[in-house]
């Protein structure tokens, strides 16, 4: 058996919060019929990919071996891009309402502040840099949406027991409290987490780095007046020689990570009295705190060599795993789902050849490597493995207060940003003479901007990607808009969105000029946006043939 890639060595439970979902025994309809997609695992990633597929008109079966949400101290920080993806699926609003919003981080050294950073200084965004929301709430909200979704069959307490991969599909054996049954599917999405049964059944292993340092991750309930910010301490007086991270979550629950070092005894460290003593050392003896959950973890930064094996596709923790500094695990997995769903739907609906799915592997391996690199560097900074490395860490910290350059070297986590797929085979590179100045480029997630539709305010991303590819155009006059848009509307499976420049009316209005700036747009500027809201191509002047060619390329149909 493979070692679990993130090892939870010991738990201590206070008041677990969990809902249960209805189990249905396998009916007669459950066997015999072949389903287009079987998603294994109803964690954040499996739920998101299943919802996205169903919204794109694909019949999906989603199974999970349990009938409840995740327990314990797991993901809390969900990034702006994740919220944008969930918004496309109609589930972001309740997450934001239930979660707590934050944009700012502060770093402390010993008993004093070192510096702070703002992750979203520019504004003009629908979503904050992050919300904090316990993973069990995220899963509950996603599960409720999934169970209400037509075309999506969610089966709780149906666990994958075995698989038999074939050239044109996968035969799955599924275990329930009422016995096993067989389900044939054309494609299987393995979203079954870090201990992936699918990965083990195929005999694949993770490659990468394993860290020895232990961390105590505690969720405590308390009324506290800390601002809603990410606070990180190096060598604080209440936990000398180690680091500590504090985050607020929903319901007056706070996440505190205590670095323990390599030699800590996980069994002893998770004892509630000992955990509470650490928390009180931090907050003062008067603090009224109760323990919701505590676990001792070690971390790894590793991935599968490739994320597609014939008709089996890996997404989320089954494909890659990182240490939590940077919140790149769950957020990276949600981007896997975003990247995969439209491609799988296009293949199943005959709009793209199966080879389009090779671009899922290319793009998400690149993203996983970026997440692994960032998480590995953060973990290395926090847990120096040699005297030289520790000396540089201490030197960077010592300089950081007075010398701003050194703050850039201090690494308490590089927080999750979506990958730009620069080398993607689906991109059409800018033509040489087009001189786009925007940071966005082919492969980037599309920027958001506030707009008006008549008197109604909306966001640009509300209009991108929901029904497939989008041609996004910028026009200076409504005549120009009408003349150019007519031929575009003949493009198959593509919707057209036009944004007016300099207050032009008769189309979407660029409320604050941010769309024009973020897209570096002039009259005629045209973007081809993928269903996952990434930029496929862009031009200074619209050209139907060029758009057709870029579309074919982005659907994997290029000759």
């Amino acid at each position: 058996m493979l070692a679990p890639a993130i090892t939870r060595e010991a738990d201590s439970v206070g008041t677990p919060t969990r809902v249960t979902f209805p189990y249905r025994p396998p009916g007669r309809s459950a066997d015999g019929k072949r389903c287009p997609v079987l998603v294994v695992g109803a964690g954040p990633v499996g739920l998101t990919v299943a919802l996205d597929l169903a919204r794109r008109g694909v019949d999906v079966t989603l199974i999970d071996e349990k009938d409840t949400v995740s327990v314990g101290s797991r993901a809390i920080c969900w990034a702006k891009r994740t919220l944008e993806i969930w918004d496309r699926l109609g589930v972001a609003a309740p997450m934001v309402a239930k979660g707590v919003t934050w944009n700012r981080g502060r770093v402390f050294l010993r008993d004093g502040p070192l510096y702070s950073f703002d992750l979203q200084s520019e504004g003009g965004e629908k979503f904050p840099a992050f919300i904090n929301l316990q993973q069990y709430y995220v899963e509950q909200l996603l599960a409720e949406a999934a169970m209400a979704m037509p075309g999506l069959d969610v089966r709780w307490k149906h666990g994958l027991a075995a698989i038999e991969p074939h050239a044109d599909g996968v035969r799955a054996t599924i275990a329930t409290p009422d016995g096993e049954y067989v389900l044939d599917c054309a494609w299987l999405v393995a979203a079954d987490g870090v201990r992936s049964a699918v990965r083990r059944a195929i005999g694949l292993d993770f490659q990468g780095q394993v860290f020895e340092d232990r961390f105590l991750i505690a969720d405590v309930r308390m009324k506290a007046s800390f601002p809603t910010e990410r606070w990180f301490w190096f060598d604080p007086p209440f936990h000398p020689g180690q680091s500590t991270l504090l985050h607020r979550q929903a319901d007056d629950v706070w996440r505190i990570d205590f670095q323990l070092g390599r030699d800590a005894d996980p069994e002893r460290e998770k004892e509630p009295s000992r955990v509470l003593a650490r928390v009180k050392a931090m907050l003062g003896p008067q603090a009224e705190v109760s323990l919701e959950w505590a676990s001792v973890y070690t971390f790894q930064c590793r991935r599968l060599a490739r994320f597609r094996e014939g008709r089996v596709i890996f997404a989320g923790d089954s494909a890659h795993v990182v240490s939590p500094f940077g919140a790149r695990g769950g957020n990276g997995g949600i981007q896997d789902a975003d990247n995969l769903a439209w491609k799988l739907a296009a293949v199943l609906q005959g709009a793209a050849p199966p080879s389009l799915l090779d671009s899922y592997d290319a793009e998400r391996v690149q993203a996983a490597d970026e997440n692994i690199l960032n998480s590995t560097r953060s973990t290395d900074f926090l847990t120096p493995k040699s005297a030289a490395s520790r000396a540089f860490r201490d030197a960077a910290l010592a300089l950081a207060q007075d010398h701003p350059f050194a703050r850039a070297l201090v690494n308490s986590g590089r927080l999750s940003l979506p990958a730009t797929h620069d080398a993607s085979p689906l991109n059409t590179p800018d033509a040489a003479d087009q001189n786009f100045a925007a940071a966005m480029r082919p492969g980037s997630p599309a920027a958001n901007a506030p707009l008006f539709d008549g008197n109604r305010s909306l966001w640009l991303l509300d209009r991108l990607g929901k029904d497939g590819f989008t041609v996004l155009r910028f026009a200076a006059t409504s005549d120009e808009h009408r003349a150019d848009v007519a031929p575009m509307e003949k493009l198959q499976g593509v919707s057209c969105v036009t944004v007016g420049l300099n207050g032009a009316t008769g189309m979407l209005r660029d409320a604050e000029g941010l769309a024009a700036r973020r897209y570096d747009a002039g009259p005629g500027t045209t973007y081809l946006i993928r269903p996952d809201q990434h930029v496929a191509a862009r031009w200074r002047r619209p050209d139907l043939d060029a758009i057709r060619a870029a579309l074919a390329r982005a659907q994997g149909r290029a000759a």
Partner: protein, 66 residues
């Protein structure tokens, strides 16, 4: 006149630089690491060349240490 130190980030990819700096020491004993660091300081000092800047850097490095 006294020359001041660059206060603002001047290294284009600080995380990548830091990782290479740590990698440079991989597998060295503490004594070997000290030697590598001392050589590195001398190489960089020669590259900087300006005695005013070097004095300012030495003072900043010493500040707060015994």
């Amino acid at each position: 006149m006294s020359t001041s130190l660059a206060a603002h980030p001047n290294i284009p990819t600080p995380d990548a630089f830091y990782a290479e700096l740590i990698e440079l020491h991989r597998g060295l004993s503490d004594e070997q690491s000290r030697l590598v660091n001392a050589k590195l300081i001398l190489l960089l000092a020669n590259q900087v060349g300006d005695l005013g800047v070097l004095r300012a850097a030495m003072a900043a490095a010493r500040a707060g240490v015994a």
